[in-house]
């Protein structure tokens, strides 16, 4: 059962304020892409795929640990965008955040539908809890648009206390529920809730300045 709480044309506003200095940050491109995709321009879709697929695959693969399934989830996310995107308005939100959200939600839906999920949880080791999903990659603006966003998110994650970062890792990048995190870490559910609440509070503050960034 999917939970898709956002629409690409829903609340939000593009500002001309703080934006990453990468080529992705040009709002004119975002606006142009959105309008062309809304007009059923397949070449625009190809451009969006080229710009965003590595990040979407990263999210899906981090959660599913399966290349084929990750690709299927990303394909479904683009299908959702293609079918629902509307021309740019003052309320339009970014295409990439929307794709990231749809991709993550679909990956979670798949993850929670898996029969073997319990077995996978049982196999998580303390070492794996600190593994590379949220480890920063070397920034390379020329090779991979979006690196500045990646760097900023990592700076925010890196400032979290280790136990909060581990909880966020499992919740956000592995797709575990609070109860599953408690079982995986062997700590009370209330402790998990507290850690996540504190972590999300810190992250909201740390990432707030990026909330209106666009592709």
């Amino acid at each position: 059962m999917g939970v898709d709480r956002s629409k690409p044309g829903s609340a939000g506003r593009v500002t001309q304020g703080t934006r990453p200095a990468s080529s992705l940050s040009v709002s004119a491109r975002e606006e142009g892409l959105r309008n062309r995709i809304a007009a059923r321009d397949e070449q625009a879709l190809v451009e969006l795929v080229d710009l965003t697929t590595p990040w979407l695959l990263g999210v899906a693969h981090a959660m599913l640990h399966d290349k084929d399934e990750a690709e299927e989830v990303v394909m479904e996310a683009f299908r959702t965008v293609w079918m629902s995107v509307t021309p740019t308005t003052a309320e339009s939100r970014g295409l990439l955040p929307y794709l990231l959200r749809v991709t993550r939600h679909r990956a979670i839906d798949r993850l929670r539908g898996r029969q073997r999920r319990r077995r996978q949880l049982a196999l998580l080791t303390p070492h794996e809890l600190e593994r590379s999903t949220v480890a920063p990659v070397e920034p390379n603006e020329a090779a991979q648009p979006g690196w500045q966003l990646h760097t900023q998110v990592h700076a925010a994650l890196g400032n979290l206390p280790a136990e909060q970062r581990a909880a966020v890792q499992l919740a956000y990048f592995e797709g575990l529920t609070q109860s599953e995190i408690a079982a995986a870490l062997g700590i009370p559910l209330g402790t998990v809730k507290t850690r996540l609440r504190l972590a999300f509070g810190h992250l909201r503050l740390a990432l707030a300045h990026m909330k209106d960034w666009v592709l």
Binding site: G58, P97, L157, R197
Partner: protein
């Protein structure tokens, strides 16, 4: 603490989808009627929108761009096309298996035919070898109910076998049968029973009895049907001496 406080506390968890299934459903139902929570969750969505960018990027495999765009624009392939390749492969395998089975059956059948033909050829060669190596050839004319027939014996002394040809004789009457005999000094020893057929010669190869060195000749009689043993009781049609 009011009931709404629970929803206030869990907004971030709902936005991040870390609530358990039952709590998530409860929160989802609450959002339908709570403008404040809906607004706050939307704000959280925006504030945490870039958090997934923390995952390391993955380089797409070759061909993924084309598959993504085709899927996005045209949607999932119809079910039958998704199964077409596996079904085609399965059908191909079945056909191959059926072909192999049929071929195998045909090969087995041909092998049987070849083996039978070899046996027949060996029998013919053996028969001819008796005739070719025969040291003696005996021949007698037979007059049977106005029909002219005969008996020819090719005697091979090396293999101690005779090749016997009976020709021109009609089928034996219902109460009789043709009987071949070996002649000894002390009497006659019963040999093969022969079926008469006037339309074509009857040929058979027979080994010599145990006292082959003492055989003096051969005879053909028309025996009564009930004469199964003992000396000849019927009419003698041919009598040949070596």
């Amino acid at each position: 603490m009011t009931a709404h406080d629970w929803f206030t506390e869990h907004r971030a968890e709902f936005a991040a989808r870390t609530l358990d299934a039952a709590d998530e459903a409860t929160f989802q139902a609450h959002l339908e009627r709570c403008e404040e929570c809906r607004r706050e969750v939307e704000l959280l969505d925006r504030e945490l929108a870039w958090l997934p960018m923390g995952a390391a990027p993955v380089t797409p495999r070759p061909g993924l761009r084309r598959r993504i765009t085709e899927y996005a624009v045209r949607g999932p392939a119809p079910r039958w096309t998704r199964w077409a390749v596996p079904i085609g492969a399965a059908a191909g395998l079945l056909l191959a298996a059926a072909g192999w089975y049929a071929g195998d059956q045909r090969a087995a059948s041909l092998a049987d035919e070849v083996a039978l033909s070899r046996l027949r050829l060996a029998a013919i060669e053996d028969t001819l070898s008796v005739m070719r190596q025969a040291a003696r050839v005996l021949q007698a004319k037979i007059d049977m109910d106005g029909k002219q027939g005969g008996l020819v014996i090719f005697a091979d002394s090396k293999s101690h076998r005779w090749n016997v040809v009976m020709h021109g004789l009609p089928p034996a009457p219902p109460n009789g049968r043709y009987q071949f005999w070996f002649i000894y000094a002390d009497g006659m020893v019963r040999g093969a029973e022969v079926q008469g057929d006037s339309s074509r010669p009857v040929m058979f190869t027979t080994g010599m009895p145990s006292r082959s060195g003492e055989v003096m000749g051969a005879a053909l009689t028309l025996e009564p049907m009930d004469a199964k043993d003992g000396p000849p009781r019927g009419k003698e049609l041919a009598h040949l001496m070596l």
